[in-house]
């Protein structure tokens, strides 16, 4: 029998180096570990069925538009007409039984969390959408790009905390770019 396989993050210190600020950090960069991620797309004519199933299973209404709707450990984030990104820190929240096209992306995406007073300014060096509180607050979400890397990001709280889902193979690059932009702004980046 071969040995059991060990799960590993896409990030390692030599491609995603840590960064420690001298004083109080302006922002904090971490990988969000052990999250379930899936794309969920409604089949034609079964949108209501899906909405009802989500309501029953997760206790939330599927959001319309680029919005994150969360309840407990699980959230649905608008990803396009009739499409959502499901994210949950509850390992038992597997959405594969929903009446929809569900594709597991738990390994396909790496989710980074960037938090703190300098987070918005750091992101503005990579992301060109408007992140000002008047335009983008907690619950807001966007599928955009960070200097050419496709990202799906949403704001969690007023810290502000952003979570950024990126294709796994790009995760180290995005980490370095965020850490680099954060270096002058006191980023605390650690795996």
């Amino acid at each position: 029998m071969p040995e059991p396989l060990i799960a590993r993050s896409a990030l390692r210190a030599h491609v995603a180096p840590a960064s420690a600020p001298g004083s109080a950090p302006g922002a904090r960069l971490r990988e969000v570990q052990d999250v379930l991620v899936a794309t969920v797309a409604a089949f034609k004519g079964r949108e209501d069925e899906l909405a009802a199933a989500v309501r029953e299973r997760y206790g939330l209404d599927l959001p319309a538009g680029p919005v994150r709707a969360a309840a407990g450990a699980s959230a649905f984030i608008g990803a396009g007409p009739g499409k959502w990104l499901f994210v949950s820190s509850d390992p038992s929240a597997d959405p594969s039984g929903l009446p929809a096209a569900v594709v597991d992306q738990s390994d396909g995406r790496t989710t980074l969390s960037l938090s703190g007073p300098a987070a918005r300014e750091i992101l503005s060096t990579l992301v060109s959408i408007d992140l000002h509180p008047r335009a983008f607050g907690p619950g807001a979400a966007a599928a955009t790009h960070a200097s050419g890397v496709a990202v799906h990001l949403w704001q969690v709280d007023d810290a502000p905390t952003y979570e950024i889902a990126v294709f796994r193979s790009y995760a180290a690059t995005l980490w370095r770019w965020i850490a680099h932009a954060g270096a002058a702004r006191g980023i605390d980046a650690a795996l």
């Binding site: 029998m1 071969p2 040995e3 059991p4 396989l5 060990i6 799960a7 590993r8 993050s9 896409a10 390692r12 491609v15 794309t39 797309a41 089949f43 034609k44 004519g45 499409k83 096209a101 594709v103 597991d104 992306q105 738990s106 390994d107 396909g108 995406r109 300014e121 503005s124 060096t125 992301v127 060109s128 959408i129 408007d130 000002h132 008047r134 335009a135 200097s147 050419g148 890397v149 294709f167 796994r168 193979s169 790009y170 180290a172 690059t173 995005l174 370095r176 770019w177 680099h180 932009a181 270096a183 002058a184």
Partner: protein, 993 residues
Amino acid sequence: MSQSHRLPAGGLVDRAKRLSFSFDGKTLEGHAGDTLASALVANGVKLVGRSFKYHRPRGLVSAGAEEPNGLVELRTGARREPNVKATTAELYDGLTAQSQNRWPSLAFDLMAVNQLAAPMFTAGFYYKTFMWPAAFWEKLYEPLIRRAAGLGSLSGEADPDEYEKATVHCDVLVIGSGPAGLAAALAAGRSGARVVLAEEDFALGGRLLAERLTVGGVPAAQWAAQAEAELAALPDVTLLKRTAVFGVYDDGVYGAIEKVADHLPVPAPHQPRQRYWRIVAKRTVLAAGAIERPIAFGNNDRPGVMAAGAVRSYLNRFGAAPGRRAVVFANNDDAARTVADLAAAGCEVAAVVDARGDATALQAAAKAAGATLLFGGQVVEALGRGAVAGARIASAKGGTLDVPCDLIAVSGGWNPSVQLSSHHGARPRWDDRLAAFLPGQAPAGMAVAGAASGAFGLAQCLAEGAQAGRAAAEAAGFSGGGFDRPDVEPEPEEVYGAGPWRVSGSKAKAFVDFQNDVSVKDVELAAREGFVSVEHLKRYTTLGMATDQGKTGNVLGLAIMAEVTGRTIPQTGSTLARSPFAPVALGALGGAHRGKEYRPTRLPPSHFFAEEQGAVFVETGQWMRAAYFPQAGEKDWFESMVREVTTVRTKVGVYDASTLGKIDVQGPDAGAFLDRVYTSAFSKMPVGKARYGLALREDGFVLDDGTIARLAEGHYYLTTSTAHAAQMMRHLEFCRQWLFPELDVHLASITDQWAKYAIAGPRARDVVAALVDEGNDVSNEGLPFLGVKELTVCGGVKARLFRLSFSGELAYELAVPARYGDAMIRAIVKAGEPFGICPYGAEALAVMRIEKGHAAGPEINGQTTAGDLGMTGLLSTKKDFVGRTLATRDGLVDPNRPTLVGLRPVDRTARLRAGAHLVKRGVQPVAANDEGYVTSAAYSPSNGHWIALALLSRGPERMGEIVRVFDPVRDGDVECEVVSPCFVDPEGARLRA
């Protein structure tokens, strides 16, 4: 004497703070708040550079960003930067600057003999002098011109500093922080709108810092400081100092450069030196002010000839006197301030020359200053060799007199800075009353206010700015902003006469464009030679084509052309300003993305394993792939490749195939959808099977190939080539959303979700069998060729196992969730050890696919049809599919089209190279006889000689023919036999073993 020309008091410099700097090796002193230019003025330095063509001595003309003369090399070593304007370089302690374009020294410049050869350097001299012989251009003329004409030089070392790009969104962007800009920002900011105020200078205030005016009962500079304090306290106002807006783009997007650390000797750790801003604004107020224009008279480029407004800047803002005895030469009332300010600063005003004779305020000022006044007189020539020593003045009645002086302050009127308003193509319009170009149709969302719109007076600037700021905020949905116009002193009635533009009566050169050394004579010559259109004038004389983009000289040149050709200025036309308004360093455009971070690097799941194995990597698009895994004793890629291929063909190897694009297709209509986008049918393919698929573009050419596997009734899994992954995803989404919206199907990219390893070779099944969990049958019966299974490996990890082969061997593709990818390849290698497994890289993979004759990137190159690739059989005749109709066009089914074949050298030792062309034996190897070319070539370890794939006209009909493979670029000329493209196991027995 230190700071010999610093006034005893006044100015906005911090006299308590002394800064030491060096200019051309001489140590000097200035104050905090100085620019390099003002510090040079304070030290009595007149000569700051040599001119471009004639190496004439030059001094400062302006005190701002329009400066054409005072260009220096700043800093030393790797941070040396050429062509820095001394007028915008903020002084810091330890600043080092060198003058440019002089050899061997600034004071004694041997190249100044160019003046003697001046006839050679007239307008169009490039075209006239360096016509022939053509061979002389590269070897003689160009080096000569470059040596003679260089404007500063680069360090030749890598730039050690960092740059950054950033985006800011706002309701109102205000460009410029003079009275109009500050009023606009206050009016908009007080409404609660998000305001960005961009100012090129390091201090806000514009002309408020340079004039002895009061606003609201306090000195103008103090009022500006109060305005700044209020703006800084508003939470949604962003003040961007040292930031030049250089371009206006679509939809309210503006480009700007912030010089974050240019005023520091070395940027702070991690601090970018410059930041490239992308400003997205709902509304914009352009309050860029105006630039004073010169008057062309003899030797008007002598150090000591300065714009009258610049004189006031140096006196009032910097407390430095550009001269001790001045002649003021102007055609307008505005220069009256210069007369008064010079007198107030204790400088002598020797003469005031009122060029038009009707500037009443000028006359009054002259009287007050006790200066000789000359109505309708003109300065004919500046006297003095290295610097101004006097002015030769012609009186209106005819006679001339020479007045000793060390400063000639000149005002030919003001040009509104309309450049940014014309970035969308609207030409500025000439206004006769103001004798100036005013903005034409400004870009959508932009309003122009203050001097930039021709409102030169302070009261007008404040009023227009406030109005524009309020209107901009309201248009962006904000109201309630207010700005009560502060009281200002009465100002002279503006008289901005058109001309005189040039003064005759001197044999000396009179300059129009200082930076490019374009003189009045050049403009006159252009007119004589028929280059009367402004666009021709510009290109023929190079007027306005220097780094200052003609900010001081363009209108003057145009006006002289109008005069010479007897036309009005509007009839003569105007040139269009284009982006960038201010020079932009390439480093800033790149931002943080340079070197290895120029673009993202994608790491496949086996990357860290491959690193540990000492693999050599190759970049494939954004992917970092292992090219080969050298072992001890192997001296190059070739030896490693041969071993890896041989191992796969005789034992077993493992390759990371995760970089192939992977797409999940789900929905009741998934099969129908695939039938439409691929050339063959997939809706009838049984669950648990996979097949090769070919997709065409709508124009009938091949787009990509890949494999399609059916995992369940409405669930498919398809792969694309690595190179075309993103393109295929776009194409499929286009088909789904636009061509076939009626189909109920969903796509998801799962390229990154699954780590996928190709396990290939005669012992592949042994390796796979050792990995799959109990109860999974991977025998030839349990999982035949083209079979697919979802199962578990290594104790419960879900996996997908595909019996597919790219190498031509017995092979499997084993996919596991990417988090297990690193452990999986290690487990595969461990399980394969008893069977002699080796990891193999992209080199071995590429060789094996050529050995098997599989079309890949070089063949699927956007110019080939299914027929060209020998795949006509894959074009279903029973259904429609994307590209089907256009694939039947005559040109695409022409039997003469080059078609895929294999080539085997007659001389088995001969080397083949991709790119070589094919001709018949015995014909001339010329384009007319071209019959195709080699697309891919490799040394085949399995055959023991070089082989190639090629596209050959009527190829399949010519099996056995000997063709000539001609490669003149690399001296290749080889005879080859046309053979089947499959060089290994043509029956495919190994695949099915």
